[in-house]
């Protein structure tokens, strides 16, 4: 490496690119070190689809308005208050100015996708999804003079006192060391490192599927934590959803989700129900089901619907198991048939008047007299054929990360690190103590990526 860089950005997803573009526009010479090959560049961003955005009045593809207070209230609800309110407000408040900025940097939006109308007001969808956003940002970054190294795996940041003095990475089998003036870490969580996940979760983690990139192994995160950089969040907190049990171990992305839970009965391997399937509309509940399934024996759940519900949800990528009787379906799923029959019979008997059934609204069609209850969309499973899916826990990203301040700057116990900033999933735990809000990861990445880029460039330009 003969060239000298003002800033090294570690990672190649949304937050990294926002930081790199912002810094380059401020005149800094920027190098992106992306550990993935070009075909897999972009980290988890390549699997995303939208950006949750506050707005007063219609903005881009977004209709009506979504106030700072409502946005914050939504966040507080899903996190149970486990958030840094100051940073949360900063992310929410800044999201509004991000949308036009994203458009200026090549991102194109499209109307809310079919099947996601409930998000038309709050979430701006990228045309073509996250990979097209990533592609557009790489194009723009290159135009701004940002250099990109693929398959460049950063192994160590040398922290001396209150500064990072060296960035060590391997590329094409060779070890390199550079000393940029500023460093931005935007290399995600550690979810693809099963050993680390197992240390946090216990053996259950072996059964988790990783929804996104296999490249987020938390190497830089671990390296910095080892050197005393301040952390935030718990190692067992993450964005985890219940996904199709047949999904690949890594990188299954959006298509492995199952939207049928609200219209189903979900049981564990002992054919027992364990949670209210109809608690809320699915987009608001899918993020808690990952943990619910993780808490069941063998970390597996079984969703059962009957013929009348088959077309009420988005088609699944793998076809469901199908049988004419519950017993036959139990056999296909390795469930105790008698027990399943008993559970479903009890459930069916607890269903009442279903005339008010409405698949897209909280209809209040509930069970009575069973635990757990099903509080909406409770219709008996009576019409063959019956369909079944297995559910597994799919981890999107882990929340244990780097603690940052309003400037996205990292610190040790003794104070700020002069030239280290963090953005994206690697610091999202500051705002997401638990739970998740659809499209908020991209908000955090964009807002703090831009802040990190701005601050890193200001320091480098000093």
């Amino acid at each position: 490496m003969t060239k000298s860089y003002d800033i090294a950005v570690i990672g190649g997803g949304n937050a990294a690119l926002c930081a790199a573009m912002t810094a380059a526009e401020a005149g800094a010479k920027v190098l992106i070190l992306e550990t993935a090959p070009k075909t897999y560049r972009g980290g988890n961003s390549r699997h995303t689809r939208n950006f949750r955005c506050m707005h007063t009045g219609p903005l881009g593809p977004l209709v009506e308005d979504y106030s700072e207070e409502e946005y914050l209230a939504d966040l507080l609800k899903v996190t149970g208050g486990k958030t840094d309110k100051d940073l949360a407000r900063l992310a929410i408040h800044t999201s509004e100015e991000c949308l036009p900025w994203m458009q200026e940097h090549g991102v194109r939006f499209q109307p809310s996708l079919s099947g996601t109308l409930s998000l038309a007001r709050t979430n701006a969808f990228f045309m073509g999804g996250g990979k097209s956003l990533v592609n557009a940002y790489y194009r723009t970054a290159e135009k701004l003079g940002v250099d990109v190294l693929y398959e460049a795996a950063v192994t160590h940041l040398e922290l001396e006192g209150d500064q990072i003095t060296r960035v060590v990475y391997t590329c094409e089998g060779q070890m390199h060391s550079i000393s940029p003036k500023s460093v931005v870490v935007a290399s995600g969580g550690f979810q693809a490192d099963t050993d680390w996940l197992t240390r946090a979760w216990g053996p259950a983690a072996q059964n988790f599927l990783i929804r996104g990139t296999p490249y987020n192994r938390g190497v830089v995160l671990a390296d910095l934590l080892d050197q005393g950089v301040q952390s935030v969040g718990d190692a067992d907190q993450c964005h985890a959803v219940a996904i199709d049990g047949r999904a690949p171990k890594y990188d299954g992305g959006i298509v492995t989700r199952l939207d049928c839970v609200p219209f189903s009965v979900v049981v564990n391997k002992n054919a027992e129900r364990f949670y209210d399937e109809g608690e809320d509309v699915w987009p608001k509940r899918y993020a808690i089901w990952g943990r619910l399934v993780a808490a069941q024996p063998d970390q597996v759940g079984y969703v059962i619907i009957d013929a009348k519900s088959l077309e009420l949800f988005m088609p699944s990528v793998f076809p469901p198991l199908k049988a004419d009787t519950l017993e036959e379906l139990a056999g296909m799923m390795d469930l105790p048939a008698d027990k399943l029959r008993q559970t479903v019979d009890r459930f069916n008997a607890a269903c009442g008047d279903t005339s008010k059934f409405h698949p897209t609204e909280l209809d209040g069609v509930a069970t009575s007299g069973i635990t757990p209850p099903k509080t909406n969309w409770a219709r008996p499973l009576t019409e063959p054929p019956f369909y079944g899916y297995t559910l597994r826990t799919g981890v999107t990203f882990t929340y244990l990360g780097l603690k940052v301040d309003r400037n996205a700057q990292c610190s040790t116990k003794t104070g700020l690190i002069r030239n280290l900033w963090a953005a994206g999933e690697t610091m999202a735990g500051s705002i997401l103590g638990q739970g998740y809000l659809a499209g908020f990861g991209m908000t955090i990445g964009t807002v703090f990526g831009r802040i990190a880029g701005r601050e890193a460039a200001a320091y480098a330009n000093k």
């Binding site: 194109r108 988005m314 990528v317």
Partner: protein
């Protein structure tokens, strides 16, 4: 019967797409795809003919190789599309030759030249022809080109009727036709939902290059066609036989059309050389290039013929131009030219689907 493997592969991919839907805003294919949950062979054929191979969905896709899902929808649909043209074309013995063999097109062109040269020698201009008619009389031209024009139209009509049955088309209303033609006239599906164009010559960069050269070819062709029609009307209705002066309808239309056609085809060949062949139907590449060169040659030879019309080169150029036109017409149902008709049918069918929903 359409090739089952190709349909099956496209169906496999469409089922993954339908669980994702990220590409919904790009073009007509995805809203049509997302309207259903299962895809019949006819549905896949219709989706394939709606696809303009703009490649936006490929570059946006998180599931392309090396991902295990191995999505390459533009290619899968291009293969089904070409197969559908071959299967629906009539008569069948000619159908499976020209889409995949540029050489067959070149050979046909030589035969076309030879036929016209033979006609020139055998029939000549008679005693009282002016301009081109001195080389080949008007009656002789009509005797050659009337069947060469009508027969391919009959063939296309039979093919399209067959297509309409395959995709489950219903009785057409005027509004379906205007909607379909409106999409084609603006080539809206190559502009993408955001209006930035398609991904073709430079990976994921959006540009209007392909859309613009396509429009040059399409409108160039239509202008040339209009020039010939204007000449026919002037000849028969107004008793004004050729040659026509520069500021006459046939000349103005023909010259502008010829220029658009020639430059459009040249531009299209250049773009296709830059584009990634693995995102189209690799087998059809030679046939497509052969067809574009033929069409471009029709335009270029027409311009040269005009330039040399008063010289001794005229009969030779006339033979080259008319030979190319003859070949082009006769091969229309069996070359890439057919795509325009099937594309229109698919767009009309899509407008119908939307209106019936």
């Amino acid at each position: 019967m359409q090739t089952n493997d190709l349909i099956q592969e496209a169906r496999r991919q469409a089922e993954i797409c339908n669980a994702c839907r990220y590409c919904e805003g790009y073009c007509s294919v995805f809203p049509s795809m997302h309207a259903g949950r299962a895809f019949s062979d006819g549905d896949i054929t219709q989706l394939a003919n709606l696809c303009h191979n703009c490649r936006g969905c490929y570059y946006a896709c998180q599931y392309t190789a090396p991902h295990a899902f191995d999505l390459n929808l533009p290619k899968a649909l291009a293969e089904v599309r070409r197969d559908s043209w071959e299967v629906h074309a009539w008569p069948q013995p000619l159908a499976r030759r020209f889409h995949t063999h540029g050489g067959a097109i070149a050979l046909s062109l030589v035969v076309g030249f030879a036929l016209i040269l033979f006609a020139l020698r055998a029939l000549g201009g008679g005693n009282h022809g002016d301009g081109f008619y001195a080389a080949l009389s008007h009656n002789a031209m009509v005797a050659i080109f009337l069947p060469a024009f009508v027969l391919p139209l009959v063939s296309l009509f039979i093919g399209l009727r067959h297509y309409w049955r395959t995709v489950g088309g219903e009785p057409i209303r005027l509004s379906h036709i205007t909607a379909g033609f409106g999409m084609a006239a603006r080539m809206k599906d190559l502009a993408a939902g955001h209006g930035d164009g398609c991904n073709f010559e430079d990976e994921d960069r959006f540009s209007h290059a392909r859309r613009h050269v396509h429009q040059a070819i399409m409108y160039g062709f239509l202008l040339c066609f209009a020039a010939t029609s204007a000449g026919t009307v002037m000849h028969y209705v107004f008793n004004m036989p050729a040659p026509y002066p520069l500021f006459s309808l046939p000349k103005v239309l023909g010259l502008s059309g010829g220029l658009l056609l020639t430059f459009g085809c040249g531009g299209m060949v250049m773009l296709k050389r830059k584009a990634d062949r693995a995102l189209g139907d690799p087998k059809a590449w030679g046939g497509e290039i052969g067809f574009i060169l033929l069409l471009g040659f029709v335009g270029l030879s027409g311009l040269v013929l005009y330039a040399l019309g008063a010289t001794t080169w005229m009969p030779m150029m006339l033979a080259l131009h008319l030979g190319a036109v003859l070949t082009f017409f006769l091969l229309t149902p069996f070359t890439k030219m057919a795509h325009g008709f099937y594309r229109l049918a698919a767009l009309v069918r899509d407008a119908q689907r939307r209106s019936l929903r």
